[in-house]
């Protein structure tokens, strides 16, 4: 038992580790800046031939939450304590409150945020200040698309693709999107959903997923980044090496954004054959009534 607990301590460290590992765990892969190309470094370029389905299309199936070298970052069903060397606390003095301050600062000063029209800046500030009450994700509502981020796991069939996302503090989510090239059914766009109505088509070796018909409940990200029901999300998935997948997201909401918000991530194939997504318990928010200082 003692040994089990000790290895567990290391595992908790693994969960936090460096910011890049955090990203690997909870938002798979690494971000690609606008001026970066996947050929810029061996780490980004990856290696190996792209596997293909019988119809010649690239095979996208796999667990895409690996570390750059293919190791498992520690899924929910992964034995603890894989690599203690990764257990480096990214916060100053190992202090929780300092870590939280740093997180807030990094969130707010990121240069990778959607650009809103000036008339919405006050609204965003207000939502941000009230975010313990106003952020739908705080109350266990699904983050929706695109906030749930890149898929952790992909299952592909000749006619559809299934994207799985998971987040340790909340739940597991999935989307099933046809890839036959058909257009949206007009009635599906009237529903107003959290993930939108998604349809897929191939452009060469890139799978393009077009999602529309959202509700306006979810946010694009922390800090009051709201969107309207006219949100339009285009995801482009390109497996350019055996162990690399480029995940590009273009977010359009022309009523409130001055320009499309484009984000790119390189995802790494998880080479652990036992890697999977475990069950997460239900999300039940208990803290909001006891919050005294409005801090995220």
């Amino acid at each position: 038992m003692k040994r089990k607990l000790c290895s567990g301590w290391l595992a908790l460290g693994l969960l936090a580790a460096t910011p890049s590992l955090v990203q690997a765990q909870f938002a798979a892969g690494v971000p690609l800046r606008p001026d970066q190309k996947v050929s810029d470094s061996p780490m980004l370029a990856g290696a190996g031939a792209v596997p293909r389905l019988a119809d010649g299309k690239p095979e996208l199936s796999g667990m895409w939450n690996g570390l750059p070298d293919g190791r498992d970052p520690g899924g929910d069903n992964t034995p603890a304590g894989a690599d203690p060397a990764l257990a480096v606390f990214p916060s100053r003095h190992g202090d929780i409150t300092l870590g939280e301050q740093d997180n807030r600062l990094m969130r707010k000063t990121s240069d990778d945020l959607p650009q809103y029209k000036p008339q919405y800046w006050d609204k965003i500030n207000q939502l941000d200040m009230d975010s313990i009450k106003s952020d739908p994700a705080f109350a266990c509502v699904t983050p929706g698309v695109p906030r749930m981020g890149a898929p952790v796991k992909i299952v592909q069939t000749p006619k559809e693709i299934i994207l799985f996302n998971t987040f340790i503090l909340a739940a597991n989510w999935f989307r099933i999107i046809p890839t036959t090239g058909r257009d949206h059914h007009p009635e599906d766009l009237l529903v107003g959903s959290y993930y939108g109505d998604g349809v897929g088509r191939w452009e060469g070796d890139t799978l393009v997923l077009d999602s529309q018909g959202f509700n306006d409940v979810t946010w694009l990200g922390s800090g009051g980044l709201f969107h309207t029901a006219d949100l339009h999300v285009v995801e482009r998935l390109t497996r350019y090496a055996h162990n690399r997948l480029l995940y590009e997201v273009t977010v359009e909401d022309p009523e409130i954004l001055t320009q499309p918000w484009v984000r790119r991530r390189v995802l790494f194939l998880n080479l652990n054959p036992d890697a999977t997504i475990g069950e997460l318990p239900p999300c039940s928010e208990r803290d909001a009534d006891h919050i005294k200082i409005n801090l995220r």
Partner: protein, 135 residues
């Protein structure tokens, strides 16, 4: 020492994850991380729920009467990684000692900083300051 450091890292993440969904809430928002209370309680219920698991305890007040308390801990998946969410680590009816950061609103809720098992082993959930690692 490194074990404690690792554990602190985990808790910080569970409470303030730099993730697409963002943090749930800051420790500071709900609890006073500068205060620590030694408490002893009898475990009544262990709730494995997101975004934070909760341990419900009966705690004796100064009049000798039992009061119901709820103590916040990490997300279930994080605890499972640590191997400390198993049923044999948290026994209903068992008496546990804890070091707790109290809630800011005075309610019978606390953030577990140190969880002491009956055999004396300690599981740390705290800050560097409390665990004696402050630089």
């Amino acid at each position: 020492m490194n074990k404690y450091r690792s554990l602190m890292a985990g808790v910080a993440l569970m409470l303030a994850a730099a993730a697409p969904v963002g943090a749930h809430h800051a420790v500071n928002a709900q609890f006073d991380p500068d205060k620590f209370i030694e408490m002893t309680g009898v475990l009544r219920k262990f709730e494995l729920i997101n975004p934070h698991s909760y341990m419900h305890m009966d705690v004796k007040n100064e009049k000798g009467e039992y009061e119901e308390w709820a103590f916040e801990s990490g997300a279930p998946a994080a605890l499972r990684h640590a191997g400390i969410a198993s049923k044999d680590a948290f026994k209903i009816g068992e008496t546990y000692k804890m070091k707790v950061s109290p809630s800011r609103d005075g309610s019978h809720i606390g953030l577990i900083v140190v969880w002491e098992l009956p055999d004396g082993r300690k599981i740390g959930f705290g800050t560097a300051k409390e665990l004696g690692l402050e630089k």
